[in-house]
């Protein structure tokens, strides 16, 4: 594995989180190396979304350390700004800004956060919209696009900030089956470009194709992790076996 020499892109050390009295993350420890592609899976309520949202502090952890790209996540706002600039996120429900055009959705952050000149930001946005194969929709509003197109715009919007790390929180779960493929294709080509990725998903085909490592979570803790082939063909724990059998039965 490549994570021995370089500093990891993301490091979680014994992270704990509670919602009230409910323990949602238990001693989660995980390293993601530069350019590594990690798929996180697990039953619903296992804490995988919470974990990924802690990485850019949409949720705050209460114990342990999270270090992203060499910066530790604390209450320090400047550290948070640095991290959010370097970490892009794609949500299950797209969360495009409905009152802005597709192009404006993509240029807003580069212009106001990175202080990029408007023309340059638009050029960059069109580049990424071409990469996700919808440059012709640039002048439309999100409400006029299909779910798959919206999610691809969301990916382009995140990429426009030129992040070092991309987080995906169940990016295909809100999509109709025929649109899942177009989003996954986009993610595969992104993975091939060498982006560091952490992806919460149930798409095992995607995991097999691009993941360097699969992490299985259940009840707030990491139960097992390993290469996709090892995880799927030779699960060590009963919980993973059960989960895989349920997933496979569903497909």
């Amino acid at each position: 594995m490549s994570q021995t020499l370089e500093a990891p892109a993301i490091a979680l050390e014994k992270v704990n989180k509670w919602y009230g009295t409910m323990h949602v993350l238990r001693d989660v420890t995980m390293n993601v190396a530069q350019k590594e592609r990690v798929v996180v899976c697990g039953p619903s309520g296992s804490g995988k979304s919470t974990m990924i949202r802690c990485i850019n502090r949409l949720e705050t952890h209460q114990e342990g350390r999270i270090i992203v790209d060499g910066t530790e996540l604390t209450d320090d706002l400047r550290a948070l700004d640095t991290i959010r600039r370097e970490v892009g996120m794609v949500f299950q429900s797209f969360n495009l800004f409905p009152h802005l055009t597709i192009l404006e959705n993509c240029t807003l952050a580069p212009i106001s956060v990175r202080k990029m000149p408007k023309a340059e930001a638009e050029e960059l946005a069109m580049d990424f919209l071409r990469k996700v194969k919808i440059p012709e929709q640039a002048k439309k509003f999100p409400g006029q696009l299909s779910g798959g197109q919206q999610q691809r715009v969301a990916i382009a919007r995140a990429l426009c900030m030129k992040p070092k790390i991309m987080l995906f929180d169940e990016p295909t779960s809100a999509l109709d089956p025929e649109m899942i493929k177009e989003v996954l294709d986009t993610m595969v080509s992104l993975a091939e470009s060498g982006m560091t990725m952490v992806c919460v998903t149930h798409e095992m085909g995607f995991a097999r194709m691009v993941a360097d490592r699969v992490v299985f979570m259940d009840r707030g803790e990491i139960v097992e992790s390993g290469t996709p082939a090892r995880m799927f063909e030779d699960p060590q724990t009963d919980r993973l076996k059960l989960f895989l059998s349920q997933i496979l039965r569903g497909h």
Partner: protein, 383 residues
């Protein structure tokens, strides 16, 4: 796939004969059938209501037009002779009273010879609304236009400079007072309300949040009249000796605080209604709090609450008439004072009708403008 064009259709299939739909399906007759005479009960209601409306209309035209007195002769001494009005009392309207009293209704006790100044202020206000309503003028310069107009209006009202004679604030009255209170009240209450709404939703600043909650709950818990009394009587007691804030300004401040509290809750409702994901997406992109608020959450929230916002605006516009309780003469009060003229005894309905028409003109303009804005915004994003 594109639909086949007319040419293609002509070539392959004969064009269908397009007849007009029969009168029973389309047109005024069909409309009346469906909406007015749809069954026995509906027909009965239509006939009864139709009769009542026509009867009322007939009575009003007879009173307001046929039997009405439009002008009265002058006596030898030059005073108006209202005898003809007295004769038709109860049978016909006395519009002559409006002809005599309209200047008092509009301008109150403002010196008669100087009333053109108040008239000019009215025109300036209407011009200001007109410019502000036009999206082409929605730029930074609009703020400057507002400040400039404000300065001009108060210079005109007060005078004392540029050769204009000084008019004490006690003598101001009529429609300009109503517009001053409503315009500056709303123009300042709105930004205040946005700040309060944001403060009340703040999670990181508990002290600010507390302050906003206390402000909203305190002000909402007090009737406007009580607030005006406080502004008029109690507020000067808190000021140091010798400092005296103008009565109109005190009422204006009370209005701003009052409207601010109500509008803040409307704005908060809009912010609350936004999906959480919008703010999260803005956070994830690294936008600062103010960038997120000004570009993402606030524009969407305000668009959502246009109807209740305008509702509050209209209610507040009419509430300005409550300043009569502290002795400021707004349009409604000067109009009521006009009724007290012994010459025009018994003339009140006519004056109330005119007052109502003026209020309706302003309120209806507001509501139809807001509907226009909603339509434009809806069209822009096609959601």
């Amino acid at each position: 796939m594109t639909p086949p064009t007319a040419d293609v259709m002509d070539a392959t299939t004969p064009a269908p004969l397009r007849e007009r739909p029969p009168a029973s399906v389309y047109g005024p007759v069909a409309w009346m059938r469906a909406n007015l005479f749809n069954g026995i009960f509906s027909s009965l209601v239509t006939l009864i209501l139709g009769f009542l409306i026509l009867y009322g209309l007939y009575g009003f035209i007879e009173w307001g037009v046929v039997n009405a007195v439009w002008s009265v002769p002058r006596t030898a001494t030059g005073a108006l002779d209202p005898t003809s009005c007295r004769l038709v009392h109860g049978l016909g309207a006395c519009w002559a009273a409006i002809g005599d009293k309209w200047r008092f209704m509009l301008f109150g006790r403002y010196p008669y010879g100087q009333q053109w100044r108040e008239a000019l202020c009215l025109l300036l206000f209407i011009g200001l609304y007109w410019v502000s309503a036009d999206r082409r003028f929605w730029r930074r310069e609009l703020g400057l236009i507002w400040v400039a107009t404000l300065v001009v209006i108060f210079t005109l009202m007060w005078g004392g400079v540029l050769g204009l004679s000084y008019v004490a604030q006690d003598e101001w009255g009529g429609l300009p007072i109503t517009l001053i209170l409503a315009t500056f009240g709303l123009a300042l209450a709105f930004p205040l309300s946005v700040l309060v709404a944001l403060g009340r939703r703040s999670t990181k600043l508990p002290a600010v949040k507390m302050l906003c909650v206390v402000y909203v709950e305190l002000i909402r818990g007090v009737p406007l009249v009580a607030l005006l009394f406080m502004a008029n009587v109690m507020f000067p007691l808190f000021l140091p000796e010798g400092v005296n804030i103008d009565k109109l300004l005190r009422a204006q401040i009370a209005f701003i605080l009052f409207a601010g509290a109500y509008l803040a809750e409307v704005v908060r409702g809009g912010l609350q209604a936004l999906p959480k994901g919008q703010a999260e997406a803005a956070d994830a992109l690294g936008l600062t709090y103010w960038q997120k608020t000004m570009r993402i959450t606030l524009p969407q929230a305000l668009r959502l609450v246009i109807p209740p916002l305008v509702n509050t605006f209209i209610g507040f516009f009419k509430d300005t008439s409550l300043v009569l309780t502290i002795g400021i003469l707004d349009f409604l009060t000067t109009s009521k004072t006009a009724m007290a003229d012994p010459v025009w005894q018994g003339v009140s309905t006519e004056i109330y009708i005119v007052v109502a028409l003026v209020y309706i003109a302003f309120c209806y303009t507001m509501s139809s403008y807001s509907r226009g804005v909603e339509r434009t915004l809806d069209g822009a994003r096609n959601r």
